[in-house]
Amino acid sequence: MNELKSIAKTYKGTRMFLVLIAILSGMTIIGQAYFIVAIVERIFLLGQSFGDIVPLLGWLALVLVARAGLTFLSGRAGVRMAAKVKNDFHRKLVTKFLRNPVQSSLQGQSGQKVSVMMDAVDEVDSYFSHYVPQVIQTSIVPLMIIVVAFTQHMYTGLLMLITAPFIPLFFIIIGIKTQKKSEEQMDKMATFSGRFLDTLQGLTTLKLFGRAAQQKESIRKSSLDFRDATMSVLKVAFVSSLMLEYISMLSIGLIALELGLRLVLFESVTFFTAFFLLVLAPEFYLALKELGSAFHTGRGSMGAAKKIADELAQKEQAVEWGEARLDTTVPPAIALRGVGFQYGEQGFALKDIQADIKPYEQVAIVGRSGAGKSTLLHLLAGLIGPTRGEMIVEGRSLSDYKEADWFDGLSYISQHPYLFAGTIAENISIGCKEQASHFDIEEAAKKAGIAELIESLEKGYDTPVGEAGRGLSGGEKQRVALARAFLKKPSVILFDEPTTGLDLHTERILQASIKELSQGSTVITVAHRLHTIKHADHILFLANGELVAQGTHDELMKSTLEYRNMVSVQQGGVTE
């Protein structure tokens, strides 16, 4: 709750406003009681005419409208504060995401991050829209009522003063205990519905094994068991609110008794005072009880706030850029000087990579899975920055250049290219800076061997794809990525070669396309195809994050046992 509390503290203006509203609300509550009682007294006891009370009726109407209006103003201030806070969280989270997401997507946490941005931020809402206004309201209104009570009739004031602490006390004693239990129960609830989901998702398996029918009873049974467990917790919560209700009832009863006795037996209070206080007493206890329910609302936001705070506190490994210009029309000379990379504190490390990549070279990064191939490719792309050493481009550190210049000359064809929500044409033209002409897009699609497929679709290049659109197969996505590259005409191409699963057609297109693209650029491939490796000018052979050897295929076959083993074992495994 502390994070939220300190945020709430920064909204001084809103808080002042809420305090003001609370004071005015207190005045309307007291005013309402005062005018009602005054009118009843004049009519009932003093026998005044209707005309005499008309001004009072007017005042009462005014007070009632004001009371409703103030409730609205207080609620609105809360809602607005919540909106500002959420806006702030969104901004901070986006900034965070922009600085650090490659690592997170490597660690498979993207889904979790989406949920923080969407759900956790939403959950924070009620703290500011309900809890804060309520707390301010309840810390002021009862105080005003008790002051009025003291001025009217000291004994009522005293009774309020003595009984009031029992309500918060009771909250502390019972409330917190049940709170913990009921929070545990909420967790169980989540687990429970997780299990239900588990059963639904496994329905195919259940049916294939002829086990679906018996699941029905087990769903019913576990549902009812869950109900009984929940009820036993809720019962305690309900009993505690019963006690609270009873305490306030008892207190109001005591006040009424005392007032009644004084009114009748001792005639030491007037009807006006007695009635006035009797109307105010329930308002007093109601306000106290509401504080309790407000706490409940506020608690829900705490867990969410923690999630956001954790996300924002994550260490950043941002890539640095400078201002120097880079000519991207021709492939640059790239050199890795003792480059290393590490995820977080321990994590995976790439160690001391030393290599030179000449313009127009065909480079293959080779190694077993987990050797650090993808990390090296990400480093070369400038998607992550080296934690050790430097990547030198045309004689200067990559971090000296303008980010835009570097990426202007770069294409990255990953194993799983991402398609954005939009049309196929839009997805292809994302590759180039200027607005691409329709002709260019079609030309690129043709070169990537996907034009035929696109034209066979009903809406052709305007077919929506991505999130809500048509799904494309892995091979088709690869070809869209190729089309992007053809359109962009980069000077450096990074290519993560697919491991399996492509059709012959895409296989051939990939090989031919990369060959064509390599005419005008340096191509660095994480290679899985022997064909690619054999034709590479320069192989970087990685093992356990280290560059074990580099050279051409023939050189490595001669010089490096590990490399030879890898190639021959794989081939042996295949031909067997």
Binding site: I43, K113, H531
Partner: protein, 571 residues
Amino acid sequence: MKDLAIVIKLMMVEKKDVLTSILFGFLAGITAVGLFASSGYLISKAALMPPLYALTVMIALLKLFGLARAVSRYGERYFSHRATFTILSNLRVRFFEKLEPLAPGIFQKYRSGDLLARIVGDVESLQNFFLRVYYPPIVLVIVFLSTVVFTSFFSIYIALLLVVGLILTACVVPAWFAYSQRKIDHNVREVRGELSTEVTELLYGFSDLKIYQKLDDKEQMLTESSMAYINEKERDGVQSMFNQSMNTMVSLLISWSVLALGAFLVVEGQLDGLFLAMLVMISLTVFENATPMALLPSHLEESRLASHRLFSVVREEPLRVEEPVLSLPQDQALSVEMDDVTFCFEEETRRALDGVSLRLEAGSKTAIVGPSGSGKSTLMQLLLKIQRTDAGEIRLAGTPISQVAQEDIWTNSNVVLQENHFFYGTIRENVALARDGLSDEELIDALDKVQLSHLSLDDEVLEKGENLSGGEKQRLAIARAMLKGERLWLLDEPTSSVDVLTERTIYHHLFEQAVDDTLVLISHRLTGLEKMDQIIVMENGTIVEAGTFDELMANRGYFYDMKEIEKSVLL
């Protein structure tokens, strides 16, 4: 609304709890009115200096009302929550009953698991329907009517005024606001969806965005949709605050009118002044119950949407099943035949299978290979009758499967799918699913055969087998299939995440057990296919080649090319 009717029907199964909740709700409401009425009366009476005993009786009554109110409130909460949880349980069971016959076909239609997750959320959110939408208005109306009847003994005009108040605060005002709120709610959902898409694209497509330098645009769009969402949400919040305050104001003004009218009537001599305080107190109290009605429409709308989503999934009747007249022979290897089978997924224009014919002898071993998306798995689904052919015929042991019940096919086959589900529980529970009466020894033996001897039967399995690796899950699925021991094997890429060596050992055991059985293996690798009786090569939903390994290699066709590429792939 039709869907809510289903929910209401399920609710009424718990009639007793529902009625008890309403009863206690009524008692809680009416005793509150009684409490404040009597306190108003008491104080007025006291002003007239009554004998002490009258006062004592009144005070006792006051206490009684207070106690009764607190206890009834407890009863109301208890029974309404119990009813709610029972109703949710009924809902889950009912939904399961409806979904069960549609599975697994329905999962093809909704490929993403999100749908099911949302459904589970919808079931949970329907708890508000009973608690906030269904019974509170009933309680409100009964309490109000009782109060009106009581009031009418004192003044019929004031009673009428209360009726007007009820109509205004419980119907007119909420309905009016519900109407104006509808559009905002719709907008909120829409912009939330947009924002969610933007965030998802940012995170999942980050590398591409970065390299194509669209991050700034994306940030811009993201900021805009975040603003739009928050603004819309703010409008929604302010609007609902306004609605609530408005309803409060209307009810306060009704109480004001009661006071004014009462005062007028007293002055005119039509009402005893003694009751004026009481009537005002009654009015103030009874309308307290009406204020939450302002929120009812939004809860109603939420429940309506939830139930609609929930039941629209299972609304479609299971495909009309031709009366299964034939059953498959037991305990013998089945032959498999397909004649010119064509199939197209709903809402797709391309045919997933196009004129596929094949013949697999009883006891033969067949491999189906081809790139992803070539129709291999679809073929399997048709064999299992998870999907129905659009044209052509499939026969098992010479029997057209259109005349065989789905369950009959499943009972007679050992199936390993690409995605195999593992449930929360233990390894034992998950493997013993295969067949009744399996001993621990048999289970352990099966685990050994699939090279999973490092797992113990009591090891915990999390939902969806989250704590198992892909390879472990596949091996467990194979163990399950082996334990089932039927004579038709349908295996869809069963070892794609298992290394070559382990795969070889597992296949050794598998083929040993299946020596006389019919076996269909969809394979992603082209290794180890030499001993197959037949290899079927698929592309784009058609069979491009078929034959033994040696025949295909000699042909130098599609299979040969694929094999060449595979040879050159280094992992």
